[in-house]
């Protein structure tokens, strides 16, 4: 293995271990929210995108409807479509290999792949990170869920109060400019104002609809001649 590849493997393992630790807390939060061991493990295996999984179990734990959770999970998954677009020419796979590669399209794999100089190294980084994160994410989920299941009352650890902390850790890297900060504050406020008057989970869909309206209104001329940025993962420390 070349030194470049060894470096990539080392980074991929580091990212995998970090997401494994993150998955421990997912397993604990999901179990405390009332999902069975099998449901928790199935979410990590099948959905395999962190923010969406946390949203689903966070809303179920708060007594919201499963379908509101599912809709929010899907809306949070839209960013993976943009990542996939950036990676498609690079991966250039056909058929089964592309279907498998698609499952690995995450914040982490995108950040690792686009940081490389050559296409072969990018491909290697994508697959190494994908395999590492998939393995350790699912292992972490299983351990977190099993450990929490062993408790007579999982709520004693306070993980039912932890989903907002998880969301804050995912949100923070995205708040590096004035516009996202304003949108985050506005979204939180609007959701709270709507909450007493609409069914559970609907405040989130109202906020999503407003953001789409905001994003699709006519684009202002770019100020200061800055080129439009392409969507990329914020720091690659979340998925």
């Amino acid at each position: 293995m070349s030194p470049a590849h060894r470096g990539i493997v080392r980074d991929a393992l580091g990212i995998g271990i970090a997401s494994g630790a993150y998955a421990l807390s997912f397993g604990a939060i999901s179990t405390t929210a009332g999902l069975t061991l099998l449901q928790t493990v199935a979410l990590s295996l099948l959905m395999f995108t962190g923010a969406s999984q946390f949203a689903m179990v966070g809303l179920i734990g708060a007594g919201g409807s499963v379908w509101a959770g599912a809709a929010t999970a899907a809306l949070l998954g839209t960013r993976n479509a943009l990542y996939g677009m950036r990676l498609s020419s690079l991966l250039g796979n056909r058929g089964l290999k592309r279907a498998l590669a698609a499952d690995f399209v995450l914040d982490e794999t995108t950040a690792m792949a686009i940081a490389r100089d050559s296409a072969p190294e990018s491909r290697f980084a994508f697959w190494a990170t994908g395999i590492s994160v998939f393995t350790l994410w699912n292992l972490g989920t299983l351990i977190g869920a099993l450990a929490t299941h062993a408790l007579p009352d999982p709520k004693v650890l306070g993980f039912d109060a932890a989903p907002p902390a998880a969301f804050l850790a995912l949100l923070a890297p995205r708040l590096r400019a004035r516009e996202p900060i304003a949108i985050a504050l506005g979204a939180g406020l609007i959701a709270l104002v709507c909450l007493p008057f609409v069914p559970a989970g609907i405040p989130l869909l109202i906020v999503a609809a407003l953001v789409v309206l905001l994003g699709f209104r006519s684009l202002p001329a770019p100020r200061g001649g800055r080129p439009a940025r392409e969507a990329g993962p914020p720091g690659g420390e979340s998925h």
Binding site: A81, A102, L168
Partner: protein, 99 residues
């Protein structure tokens, strides 16, 4: 019901990933889509934080979850790893409930 939601949402999340690597690039290159999609997680994560911290059912409430969130915010500012942020928030809620 729970299983149906899990399977549906999982399928939707996978289809979004597959759409990204499969659809003609110009569809997603649209400036409005490029602008809107990155804003969705910002707004949704913020709305999730607000509603899951400050409400129970349809009532707005202030309880130990607000303290847990404040501790999480401090941990984020100190650049603590994800597991530390979440565990610190959980421990804060657990300890305050013992009081």
């Amino acid at each position: 019901m729970l299983w149906a939601g899990i399977l549906t949402a999982s399928a939707a999340c996978y289809m979004l990933k597959l759409a990204g690597v499969s659809l003609p690039e110009r569809w997603l290159r649209d400036a409005r889509i490029q602008r809107t999609i990155p804003l969705l997680p910002v707004a949704l994560l913020a709305a999730l934080i607000a509603t899951l911290t400050f409400s129970t059912g349809h009532r707005l409430v202030l309880d130990v979850r607000a303290a847990a969130l404040a501790v999480a915010a401090l941990a984020v500012l100190l650049r603590a790893p994800f597991l530390v942020v979440v565990s610190a928030a959980a421990a804060t809620a657990a300890l305050l409930r013992l009081l």
